[in-house]
Amino acid sequence: MIRVHRLAVLLALTVSVFSGCATLPYSAPLPKELTIKKIGKVDPGAPFAVSQNGTVATVSGGAVQTITSGTETPQQVADLQATALSFSPSGEQLAVAGGKENVLRIYGPQGKLLGETKVRGRVTALIWRSEKEVLAAAMHVQRYSFGSELVTLLHRWNGAGAPATATLSDTTIKKSTAAWPDDVLYGTFALALSPYGDEIAYRFLRDPPLFPPYQSLVLRHLESGQQHELTSIPVSSAGPFFAADGERVVVGDAMATHWFGVPEGKEQLVIPAPGSSLSASSSGAYLLMNGQLYRGEQKIASFAPDSVGAFLPDGTGLVLGYHGALYLVSGLTDTPPPAPAKDREKLLKLRRLRSLELITNEEFKKELARVPAK
């Protein structure tokens, strides 16, 4: 009887605690090794990014600001409705894209503007290839009476002058598809950079006249421009992200999350958890899929399904955006990246030869085995 009473009290306490915490991004106790704290605000649906040193860039009240750990007041960086944000590998530079005129800017420490350019299309993703080059994925939609032309572009910018632009796809979409909400339509173009900085994986919308729309997942070598489709994926897909060795890519959809091997595009692993909102840690060991935090194939925590995340580059934490607030989840231990090849130049050369289809994947692997690790 006492036992039942205790249980009822515990239940009542739990209910009162969690009902009072309706704005928290989790609905079940977190594992003891994880801690969570609120660190700032983010406009609903706006992007945010985390730097190597833990600084978070966010959009709040229509302006870009940074939140540095240990500092209570966010620092205003730009009065711009950003569509994409990204810190450089060192965390010293912040790339910001957005505004009605599709501007792309680079800010230095203390929010100093280092460069600005205009780009064609709305930027949907930003990734730094090195401290000297940022990649911007942009989509341009031209609407006509019969449908729309959808162009996906890759801008490569060194912070000065005009960016170098390559058209990745140029396709006609049906009128009904063009009428999708902006966040859905522009959300169909995203890219990831391989850990070696030589290849990108990107997905873009295809909308054939007599078939339902879908997306293509494509692997492209940045320097040679050689590319091929890895696989086709549903329109609800999210990602892609590379694994630490650059030999696998993960994408999620409304039904499950899939790892595909490159360059063949063969499915290697399916995690039976929806991943239409997906983020991955640097190594790919942690995945946040529709609020479910997995390490490998093991679920370790559940957050609200509509929370979105960005992992800290060092793999120690995760920043979650949920209902206008940002939370830092600490206590993650990401898998260390594989030892870099001693002869990086040779490795990159072999990867290039494989992307050009001058050697097969088997020949690549055979040759790679001869390249000693550091």
């Binding site: 040779k346 050369k349 030869l353 050009l356 001058l358 050697i359 020949e363 040759e367």
Partner: protein, 424 residues
């Protein structure tokens, strides 16, 4: 009595024989007897005149068109009356104009408007031939007309062989009628025949003993001149399925004079000469492609006027050019179009000198020249670039070789492995 009869019947005979043509050509004769007397005379002597086929029967009634040269009598005019000959012609290599000598010149600079009639009938946008020939497209209007279409018009014009107004079969039974096109450096079949044993016997004892072009290539008067031929016009052998019945036809034709077994042996020997010569040709062709793969042609295709059909690409097939190419390609053109053709056709026409000295010996010397030129280009390439070709260039060249079928998949894998091992 005889003279009375003669005097009485002659007008009747004349009325019967001359009234039909006179009536058929009545409106034209008064002027054309004066303006084109030779044409009228040839026609008056022709079977057409005797059959009552007059000027308008072939040329139509629109005199303005005739004056503008737009009422040329092509094969569609003759076909309704000469169905069998037309069908046989259509089935032959003549009927497809040898798939060359044509192409739309509309977008080329400096063209003459009236040259459209090379290929199009008045008011018809569809060309008479859908064939495009790169060498034709490089020519001026004048050169295209005399140098290409005078021969390749055989596709659509009976008068290519028969002449315009005479129907005398003596013209088309004379090998000279073939010589207009089948002579010269690229395919001197007429000379080969003339100086062969067949030609000599023909010249001395007549065509009943010594065969001529028509005896073997137009047996029983057929207009299908391709009977019995086992290769395409570029000398590339047909596959077995197509070659076997053709060979049987030729054995049958030759067996009219020779023992079948002898014929088979002779033709098998000639097949062997063809195969050996083709091997030399392929060896040379591979050298060209290898140089192209390594960017060593001088000039490279992208550095010269584009090929009319393929753009800035190396072309070594039937559409290859003899102008606006590199020197080594010009050597290969001679090797393929002249010397290979002379070797092979010389053998099948039983001409030892053409097979050997004008053909095979030249072919082999061409290969020496091509190899020497290739060495020079490679040497120059080394000096100019002062570097080893990159692994990427090396693998690209290997891939192209593999795709052209020059190396097997095993060789390809082995060569790739070797190149990768050597990679620094």
């Amino acid at each position: 009595m005889l003279s009375v009869l003669h005097r009485g019947l002659l007008p009747l005979f004349c009325a019967l024989t001359l009234s039909a043509p006179a009536l058929a050509a009545e409106p034209c004769l008064p002027c054309h007897l004066e303006k084109t007397p030779a044409a009228v005379k040839r026609w008056q002597e022709s079977a057409h005149a005797r059959a009552g086929v007059g000027c308008e029967g072939c040329h139509g009634k629109d005199h303005d068109k005739i004056l503008k040269g737009e009422a040329k009598v092509d094969m569609t005019v003759c076909a309704p009356c000469h169905k069998k000959a037309f069908q046989e012609h259509q089935a032959s290599r003549h009927g497809m104009g040898l798939h060359s000598g044509w192409g739309c010149t509309r977008n080329l600079p400096g063209r003459k408007a009236d040259e459209c009639r090379f290929c199009h009938r008045e008011g018809d946008t569809a060309p008479r031939s859908d064939v495009q020939c790169a060498r034709f497209l490089k020519q001026s209007s004048e050169m295209g007309q005399i140098g290409c279409n005078s021969c390749h018009a055989v596709e659509n014009a009976c008068d290519s062989c028969h002449s315009s107004h005479s129907t005398d079969l003596a013209i088309v039974r004379n090998p000279n009628v073939c010589a207009k096109c089948h002579m010269g450096p690229d395919h001197p079949q007429w000379e080969m025949w003339q100086t062969s044993q067949h030609g000599t016997i023909n010249a001395t004892l007549g065509r009943n003993t010594g065969p001529d072009c028509q005896t073997c290539h137009m047996p029983k008067g057929t207009h299908n001149v391709s009977i019995g031929i086992t290769m395409n016009s570029g000398g590339i052998p047909y596959d077995e399925k197509k070659a076997r019945p053709a060979r049987a036809d030729m054995v049958r034709i030759c067996s009219a004079c020779h023992a079948s077994e002898f014929v088979r042996r002779e033709l098998q020997r000639d097949d062997a000469v063809r195969a050996q010569s083709l091997k030399l040709l392929k060896e040379a062709e591979q050298i060209l492609w290898d140089l192209n793969d390594h960017g060593l042609l001088d000039p490279m295709p992208e550095q010269r006027p584009p090929h009319p059909l393929s753009g800035n690409k190396l072309v070594t097939d039937a559409q290859m050019l003899y102008e606006d190419t590199s020197h080594i390609e010009r050597l290969f053109f001679k090797m393929k179009k002249y010397d290979y053709a002379r070797t092979v056709k010389g053998a099948y026409h039983q001409n030892p000198a053409y097979t050997h000295w004008y053909g095979n010996a030249e072919l082999k010397m061409d290969l020496i020249d091509i190899k020497a030129e290739a060495s020079r280009l490679r040497e120059r390439g080394k000096k100019g670039l002062e570097r080893k070709s990159s692994i990427e260039e090396e693998l690209t060249a290997l891939q192209k070789k593999f795709e052209r079928g020059e190396i097997s998949d095993k060789e390809y894998a082995r060569e790739k492995e070797k190149a990768l091992k050597a990679m620094e």
